[in-house]
Amino acid sequence: MVEKNKPAERGDTSSPAGSLLERPHRVESLESVVIRFAGDSGDGIQLTGTEFSKSIATGGYEIVTHPDYPAEIRAPLGTLYGVSAYQVKYSNNPVFTSGEALDVLVVMNPAALKMNIDDLKHGGTLVANTATFTPANLEKAGYESNPLKDGSLAIYRLIPIDISGLNATALKDSGLSRKDIGRCKNYFALGFVLYLHNRSLNQEIEKVRTRFAGKPEIAEANVTALLSGYAYGEVCEVFDTRYTVSDEVNLTPGTYNSITGNRAVAMALVTAAKQTGLKVFLGSYPITPATDILHNVVKLPNFNITAFQAEDEIAGVCSALGAAFGGSLAATTTSGPGMALKTEAIGLAAMTELPLVVIDVQRGGPSTGLPTKTEQSDLLQAVYGRNGECPVAVVAARSPIDCFHTTLEAFRIATKYMTPVIVLTDGGIANATEVGRIPRLDDLPPFEVKFRTDPNGYRIYERNENLARAWVRPGTPGLEHRIGGLEKDALSGDVSVDGANHDKMVRTRAAKIDGISKDFAPLVIEGSEEAKLLVVGWGGTYGSIAEAVRQSIADGHAVAHVHLRHLNPLPNDLGEIMERYETILVPEINLGQLSVLLRNKYLREISGFNRVEGKPLRVSELRNTIEGLA
């Protein structure tokens, strides 16, 4: 059985993957719907998608979303590369990915049709805004004839609607300008789609009124558009089915919300400040797809958290290190190229043994690569990418919600072991949303930090049972001391060029990091116990792998799945678990970086499933591979 929601046992610094916004348990049922909205980036697609998912989620369904922006800020209207899309999968069963083949596709123009139609299931529903299928737009999209009329879409259930026109008609008395009326059309579309999915409008109407509280005419116009779209559904005779996903939901009672991975990281920073009573300091430099974390944090100065936009990545990490020296919980956020720039300073953090959390929201590389696409290719950089023998802890989040728990755990490790910790998330989970139950503070693993204040017999590199040195806050009388990047005497902390001392320090720093694994909760094996095939994953591919494994099992294949949060050190029980299986499959959005770590550590043959296409692994393809090996 896939035990997606079973909280792991708690170790000292470990925490369950999936409890801020805890994931619900429910009864089995297989029905689910995958829907994608697509249109010009100016069409409000992201907003429509978000609103739709919220409305669905509040119905108690599980959802996973996948927003997909064009690389350009504002691509010219109607172009293929200017198409923006937003995909949602929902179900009353656990949902792990935003889905593959679409049940419903809503397109606002020909370019959106062209770019997305291939993903629609045969027999799937296609809603198209006919008003935009003008000769000029068709040409921009590369259509020679109008696909809505030339029969080429016959295999789909086509619902052509003059969304622009109907919306304009509905709002002709609103007193708004034509431009403003045009802007309401996404609410018309939303109303229609909500009808299609059998959702009521009440809540949505309330939300529109709150959102546009300052502008009542706009609010009312949008409400009218929503209602008109819904009404159009009711009267429309073009189609005959509404989607009805069983709503026998069985959620743990509580307050729920949806959250993106980037916001979850920001919430973790706030929570760390709350739990410890310490100031949190975020030193950062904007870079896609990590910037949203900073955007979230700058709005929260009243939560004992200082955000600093530095002049570059190096200053970002260095300012954080300065704050760590000062006794704050310090973090820096970035993505691949920024990570590359921070490595020298991370080395200094490792050498001075200061707690520092470095969050790398991975994107397509190398170099500038594919900045708006996801990838898992910074793992080896995180583990090995510094000069000298410079081990640091590396952890990875598996889902948007897990970004919260993983970041908090990173802070617990950093302060307990006095070490930098690298948190790997990725562009996929950073922007996707997941729904879960809101945790209360006491639900979370405890997090307390102690500074040394006793000057008696203080030695900078004296270590406790975890091999960690003491954290001393400047301002504490009698504990004045100097640290730095030069090698230091193993006890006194004075500069030392002694060879034996250096060897000792190098080994001690390595042993300290290795020792972190004693705190990890036992790994959770999902899937069949009697399997011969073990799928080992890490980070943001969790959804795809869990879904593929689940489908394979449902289809009668024996396969097990273990998903790693801890990449350095690796969990102590992993070797023993791997020994139980004949074949190890490691799916990654890279050319096999976890494979390198596993092969090196366990000397095991590993099968890789590697696709580096800037997007989540395709469940169907992965499933084929699994079933070939199981």
Partner: protein
């Protein structure tokens, strides 16, 4: 920082057990001494000092100061100090750096620190050479100077650190010579008292790799004709016999003699370290030997909000509007829903 009574601190309190490992004759020694003399006078508890440095001979200074300190990585001290100060406003934060550390690899942090005006004191030990790596060209090396990496003479036009800092709006900028103890000490005191970023450029003799580069302004016999001591509100007079001055001719400065009666002090420019615009100080920072005397003393000292204050007042605005943040509300988010 509030000035509190701390009667019993002395220079000794700021000395460490470490052997000081600069070359005999290095100008860094005298700077260390002045810093150790000034600190006890500031009324700041010893445990509230933090010294951050980069890499270089100069950057070793924190090891010899019995305060909190970090000898960090090359060029990054101002960035580290910024994070420290923003998160711990009550500390007295000092940065010790060299011409290579601050102006070559560290140039970007240097300029942005000036711009932000974070409250810290930056001591820039300018010896116009890379000392620690044994004698290469630095950004302040004079044109034509032969070094290990400029065997036929440097062709890189030197940086004038004070001009650079001014162009980024530095609120306190001063210059002193390592062995001019009295002046150095005065300036360090004023820098410490200044709220915001204070930059003190110290002409420091590297006895081994660039000996004598500051001879004209440090040698007691030569210096009076080659330097000018800046004094706020006073005309720009210099010379052994105080018989020369600086006058403005259009937008160009000009050295004039006060000896032949043609000009008097009234014709001279009057130093004003407090004007809000940086042009006066910039103008002074462009004066160099041999055409002009080199200014020593305080170029600029103006009161402006420092970054930390602004951060805190921005925080206060938000807190004022919204009250202290409530974790539960925040974490719940705007449109949560309840399942019963």
């Amino acid at each position: 920082m509030q000035k509190i009574q701390i009667n019993d601190l002395t220079r000794k309190d700021f000395e460490t057990s470490q052997d000081v490992r600069w070359c005999p004759g290095c100008g860094d020694y005298s700077v260390l001494k002045q810093v150790q003399l000034v600190l006890p006078t500031l009324g700041i508890p010893k445990e509230n000092f933090a010294f951050i440095s980069g890499i270089g001979c100069s950057s070793r200074l924190p090891y010899y100061m019995d305060t909190y300190g970090m000898h960090s990585i090359h060029g990054r001290a101002p960035a580290i100090a910024t994070g420290l100060k923003l998160s711990r406003p009550e500390l007295s934060v000092w940065v010790v750096t060299g011409d290579g550390d601050a102006l070559a690899i560290g140039g970007n942090h240097f300029i942005h620190t000036m711009r932000r005006n974070v409250d810290m004191n930056i001591i820039l030990l300018n010896n116009r050479i890379y000392g620690l790596t044994k004698g290469q060209l630095s950004p302040t090396t004079q044109l034509g100077r032969q070094t290990k990496t400029s065997p036929v003479g440097s062709i890189d036009r030197p940086v004038e650190p004070i001009s650079l800092a001014l162009s980024m709006g530095v609120t306190f900028a001063a210059r002193a010579v390592d062995i001019d103890q009295k002046n150095l000490r005065d300036i360090l005191e004023r820098a410490a008292a200044h709220k915001g970023t204070s930059l003190v450029e110290i002409y420091q003799n590297c006895h081994i790799f660039n000996d004598g580069t500051f001879e004209a302004v440090s040698n007691k016999k030569l210096r009076d004709d080659n330097r000018i001591m800046l004094e706020h509100g006073k005309p720009l007079v210099f010379g052994k016999n105080r018989d020369k001055g600086i006058r403005l001719n259009g937008m160009r400065p000009e050295v004039v003699s006060l000896a032949d009666g043609k000009y008097t002090e009234a014709d001279l420019l009057v130093h004003d370290e407090q004007t809000d615009c940086t042009v006066m100080a910039y103008f002074l920072s462009r004066m160099h030997n041999p055409d002009f005397p080199v200014p020593m003393g305080v170029f600029r000292a103006v009161a402006e909000d420092c970054y930390g204050q602004s951060v805190r007042s921005a925080e206060a605005i938000v807190e004022g509007k919204r009250g202290p943040g409530d974790w539960d509300t925040l974490i719940r988010g705007a449109d949560s829903w309840v399942v019963e």
